[in-house]
Structure formats: structure tokens, C-alpha cells
């Protein structure tokens, strides 16, 4: 035994390729908080040749021009929540964050050292949530969020990626989901939820792999893993509206830690698993759960990763809020107006489906159905600030402090509305708001839409549980 332990070769934790086996993933997971990982990273060499080649192949017109013509005017500075939250620290000016990383990298043609790559990593993940807000305010239309995302890809290809996202990417490769939820786990969770709620909702059913349904519903792995009630709530609402819907046993994961990690091959693999489900089950449309980056990854960016020229998903896709507005407007779902929330309510616009997918008015049209006193944040719709948890930042231990500082902008936005109830139809924003409350204790509540709606629904007689 002792002999064996000595002989055991310690697998490297840091690699330039994604993790693709369960064994490697478990080794990495065993390295608590990534202590060993970051230690190994300190000594990890940069493959400058490969970096140079990647730059030559992918650093083209759009990015090149942005870097070249940036007027260094500073109009992007106060567009960034990190700049504001850090008391106008010049090092948080978006253009500086790119100039000092990607700009140098290009200037030196990839000939950089470990310390520089770590600086790039700490900037790309620790000072930016890729929310794309700054790009809206730049006179030249330079989208620093998109550049940061490109930089993340370069960092990932060199092995310089935060611990949790190396794991996240590995999860996708091993489980085709951001967490270790297998097909069996998922299907069992659906069955369990249907049984659990069947007494209250007779006939409740979560159809798996039903072909030609009207709606294919896809989700975030956190739901089966940590919040199975979310799946039950979705099922109840589909049940109440009489939708012909289904979930796929494979290809149900909408989210994409591979996108946050800059693992582009992983992005393609992940989104193709969802598109395969569409092709297999031939639904009329797909509806994705209340998540922002999931929509971004699968609906907005996904088709391009999968090589679909039109940029459209194989079947039309909607965010959950679009479906919800539809059934509220066409009367399939009726809410009891007397149950509207009485206290002031505000709304967190998630960058990923508002600024980056144009759904600003959809959630706003839902608000009058559920709130008596709806109050806008000062910066709203496309102009809203990121919650500060985006781009994967919520999950990163190494940048916890920076994330918490960033939360102050959102805190102040919320406080200024006078509302203590925040509606958040995005998993990431929801998490950030939870941490905001934990960190700053402003006494607020926050919620997804599904539980709010469920408290207000008028249940048609034929769907009510039969009295004993």
C-alpha cells in the first residue's frame, strides 16, 4: 500500500485543454478552493508560439479596429459598475482594462510571461462581468465586454482560468451540464417533482421526451440540483395553461459555464446537445427558464457556435418571460388582481436578455399584472447596471471581494427606488441579490417570477383537487 502511494503520479491540475474525464474532474474537485491549482498555475509556462498563432487566426477586423481607433477618451469609464463601485479607480476604466491586457498581448505578439497572463486572468474575470454596458456609451461603439470575452478565450487556451470555471467547463464536458446532474438524475427529479405536487394539482405531469410537443422546456442545472421546486413551478404553470409541453432527457441544460470560461469548443459541444434535442423531439418552439446567461449562450450566441448561418436556433426560442407575457395577455393564465404585491416593487433587468437580446419591454408589461406600485431603477432597460454577479463572477472565490464591492452599485440603485422587493427573472442576478442582502443587509426580498405568479393564479374549477 505504502509502495503504491509513493508511485502514484499526481495528475497536473492546470492544463491548456478542457477537462474531459470524470477522474480528472474529481481530482480537481478534491483540491479544495483551488489552493493547489493556483499554486501550480504560478509555475505554469506560457506557450507563446500557440498564443501567437491563435492571435493571427482570430484577431481580425472588428477587434483589431477597436483596439486601434479607441480614442482613449474615457467615456466608457463611468459606464462600468466596477469603476463606480471602486470610487472611480482609473484602473477600472474599461479601455484601460483592455489596453493593459489584450493591447499589450497583441503588441508583444503573444510573447508574454506567467505574471502577465495572471494579470490578464485577474482582469478578465476579476474586473469585468462581460455585461457589455460600456460599449453602449462609447462614441466609436467599442464593445469592451466582447473584447474581454475574447481575452478570456485566449487565457483559457493557455490554462489561465479561475479554478471554479475550469471545473465548470469540465462539468459540461463530462455531464453536458454545469453540474454533476446525469440524465438519470434529471429524469428522476422530474418524476419526483410530479409526484410531490400531484395531490395539490391533480393530473400534474412532467412529460419527458415527448415528440412534436408545442413547447420544449429547457432549464438551468441548478434547478434539478438545488431548486427542484422551480421545475415543479414551471410544470404547474404549464399545467394550468393547458400547454402541450415536454422536457428532453438529454439536452435540457441551457446554461454555459463554458462561455464564462472562454472554452469555445465546449460552448459548441454544449449548445449542440440542446439543438440535437430540438431535432430529435421536433417541438414547435423552445422556452428557456428564468435565466439570463442561459438565454445568451443558447439563443443569442449558440447558433453561431453551432455554425448556423442565420444565427437562429433550429426551432424558434423564447425566454420564459416572453411565454409568461403571452399567456397573461391571451388569458390562458388568469391572476387574481386582489393578490397583487402591495408594497413597492422594482425590477432587475438582466443584461443578458435585456441589453443583449432586446426583451426590455416584456418584463415591464408583466409588472402591472403582479405589482401595484412598480418602480423603475434610475438606470433601467438596456441602460441598467449589471448586478455584478455576471460573467461567472458569482462563483469565483478568488474575486469574491471584487464582486462584493461591485454589488454596491446595485445596492444603491435599489435603495434609491424605495422598494424592498426586487423581481429578478435571472438565476445569476438572483444569486447576486441574495449575496447582496447577505453582505449589506438592506432588508430586501427578491424573487423569480414563477413563485410570485403561482401565489396569484386563479385555478380553473376542473383543475382543482377534488374534495375528499
Amino acid at each position: 500500500m505504502a509502495e503504491e502511494a509513493k508511485e502514484q503520479i499526481v495528475a497536473p491540475l492546470v492544463t491548456r485543454v478542457p477537462i474531459k474525464t470524470k477522474e480528472e474532474l474529481d481530482t480537481l474537485l478534491a483540491d479544495r478552493q483551488g489552493r493547489g491549482y493556483y499554486k501550480e498555475l504560478d509555475a505554469f509556462p506560457v506557450d507563446t508560439e500557440a498564443l501567437k498563432k491563435t492571435l493571427e487566426a482570430t484577431f481580425k477586423s472588428r477587434l483589431k479596429t477597436w483596439l486601434k481607433i479607441c480614442a482613449h477618451c474615457g467615456m466608457c469609464a463611468d459606464a462600468c459598475h466596477f469603476y463606480i463601485a471602486n470610487d472611480n479607480d482609473p484602473e477600472q476604466v474599461p479601455s484601460y482594462k483592455i489596453q493593459s491586457t489584450l493591447g499589450e498581448l497583441v503588441k508583444k505578439k503573444g510573447n508574454v510571461d506567467n505574471a502577465f497572463m495572471q494579470y490578464c486572468m485577474d482582469t478578465a474575470w476579476g474586473k469585468c462581468t462581460c455585461c457589455n454596458r460600456c460599449g453602449m456609451y462609447c462614441p466609436h461603439g467599442i464593445d469592451m465586454g466582447a473584447m474581454m470575452s475574447y481575452l478570456r478565450g485566449l487565457c483559457f487556451s493557455q490554462g489561465f482560468v479561475p479554478y471554479e470555471l475550469k471545473i465548470g467547463s469540465g462539468m459540461h464536458w463530462v455531464y453536458k451540464a454545469q453540474m454533476d446532474v446525469t440524465v438519470q438524475d434529471f429524469v428522476e427529479t422530474c418524476e419526483w417533482m410530479a409526484e410531490e405536487y400531484e395531490d395539490d394539482w391533480p393530473g400534474l405531469n412532467i412529460p419527458v421526451d415527448k415528440e412534436n410537443a408545442d413547447i420544449l422546456y429547457t432549464i438551468n442545472a441548478r434547478e434539478p440540483k438545488h431548486y427542484p421546486e422551480d421545475i415543479a413551478e414551471a410544470a404547474i404553470l404549464f399545467h394550468l395553461t393547458g400547454e402541450n409541453w415536454t422536457v428532453p432527457s438529454e439536452g435540457w441544460e441551457e446554461t454555459s459555464l463554458v462561455m464564462f470560461a472562454g472554452d469555445w469548443a465546449g460552448c459548441k459541444m454544449q449548445v449542440e446537445s440542446v439543438f440535437e434535442a430540438m431535432e430529435r423531439l421536433k417541438p414547435k418552439r423552445m422556452v428557456v427558464t428564468e435565466c439570463g446567461h442561459a438565454h445568451r449562450a443558447t439563443v443569442t450566441e449558440g447558433p453561431y457556435w453551432a455554425g448556423i448561418k442565420s444565427g437562429d436556433t433550429p426551432v424558434p426560442t423564447q425566454h420564459y418571460v416572453e411565454w409568461l407575457l403571452e399567456v397573461l395577455e391571451n388569458g390562458k393564465l388568469k391572476l387574481d388582481p386582489s393578490k397583487k404585491i402591495k408594497e413597492p416593487v422594482t425590477l432587475q433587468d438582466p443584461c443578458n436578455y435585456v441589453r443583449n437580446a432586446g426583451l426590455a419591454e416584456v418584463t415591464r408589461k408583466i409588472m402591472p399584472y403582479i405589482a401595484e406600485d412598480f418602480r423603475e431603477m434610475a438606470q433601467n432597460r438596456e441602460q441598467n447596471f449589471c448586478c455584478s454577479g455576471g460573467g461567472g463572477m458569482n462563483a469565483l472565490g478568488r474575486y469574491r471581494e471584487q464582486r462584493n464591492i461591485g454589488l454596491r452599485v446595485k445596492r444603491d440603485q435599489i435603495l434609491a427606488t424605495g422598494a424592498k422587493f426586487v423581481v429578478s427573472a435571472c438565476h445569476n442576478c438572483w444569486d447576486a441579490l441574495r449575496d447582496l442582502e447577505e453582505e449589506y443587509k438592506i432588508g430586501m426580498k427578491w424573487s423569480f417570477l414563477k413563485p410570485i405568479i403561482l401565489k396569484m393564479v386563479i385555478v380553473p374549477d376542473h383543475l382543482k383537487p377534488k374534495a375528499e
Partner: protein, 224 residues
Amino acid sequence: MYEFVRGPLALISFAIFFIGIIVRVVWYVKGLDWRLDRVAYLEKADYGIRGALKSIFHWILPLNHTTANHPIFMGATYLFHICLLTAPLLLVAHVMLIEESWGISWPTIPDTIADYMTLAVIAAGGFLFARRLVLPYVKILTTGSDFLVLFIALAPFITGFIAYHQLMGYKFWLIVHILCGEIMLIAIPFTKLSHFVLFFCSRAQIGMDYGIKRGGQKGRGVAW
């Protein structure tokens, strides 16, 4: 000397300028890649063109949030650019020289107006220069080449002003002015002054991005 800068050198600089900006635009367009950029430029050209035009329109005119948030800077830069583009183009002396050489001409503005515009460019340029030294969030972005480029842009105006008012040796300053003008023309394709054309490319691209992918098809997509 005058004959040389006024004749062959002027021709060369105009040629470099025109060919240079055309090459810039051609390279830009050729380097767009629907897969790398993740924008269906061709497949969704209708949404793309709409987005591109909106994007340019909202920034050629001060119809954007940045102008509302930073009225002083944006005011200065609009003034700087409007005067910088119109004064030399409509200046009597310039139009006359062009008519002499190539036999084409167009309407002009009175010299007094051109003179005020020249002063406006110099004043606005001074402001742009000063904020680079003073504001921390601009200072950190500023490199030597920003000052150089600003200087290249301002030099024809300063020297033109000196020559026009015959403040010092006219002939000498006229030659210096012409040289500065030629340096600026040559610098445009090679420095960040290439934004003269690339501004339109960049704004069109981000406009297409929003118009096609990020909300344009949902009836939004103008986020500025």
C-alpha cells in the same frame, strides 16, 4: 520649395490619403467574419443595414446617452469635429488652389467664419489636450501617440491661422502650413486618425450586431 510642397508633395499626400482610407475600409470589410464575430451579416442583411444606419445616425448627431451624461466633453468634441471638417473644405484659399490645379470648385464660406472655426478647433483641441493631463480616468488611458495625433490634427489649423493673418513671415509659415496639412493627410490612414473612415465601419458593425442579434429582431436594439 513652395512649388514643391504645393505641387508634387501635395499630389502624393492626397494620393496616399485617398488610397489609404479606401484600403482601410476594404481590409475592414474583408476581415469581418460572421462566425468569429457571431453576427449573421449577410443572412440578416435587412436587420443589419437598419441597425447600422441607426447606429451611425445616433452618433453623427448628438442623439445618445453619452452626450446627455457628458455634455461638456461631447460638446467640445462635436464642435472640434464640425469645424475641423468644414473649415478647410470650404475655405476660399483651398477651393481656389484646387480649382487652379484640377479645374473643379464648390461653394465657399467667408474667411471670417473660417477664421472663427479655426479658432474653435484650436480651442477645443486645447481642451482635449488639457483633460488628458488633468482627469485621472483619461490620463491613465493616454499614451504619447495620443498627444502626437492631437498635435498632427491641430498643426494645420495653428499654422494656417498664422499664415492667414500674416503674423510672422508669410511665405515661411505658408510652407509650414502646407507641410503640416500634408502630414495630417498622410497620417490619417496610418494612425488612429483612420477613425475618419473606421468610425463608420465600427459603428456600422456594432449597429449590425445589435440590429441582428442583440434585440433588433425584437424591435429594440438601439441601446445608445
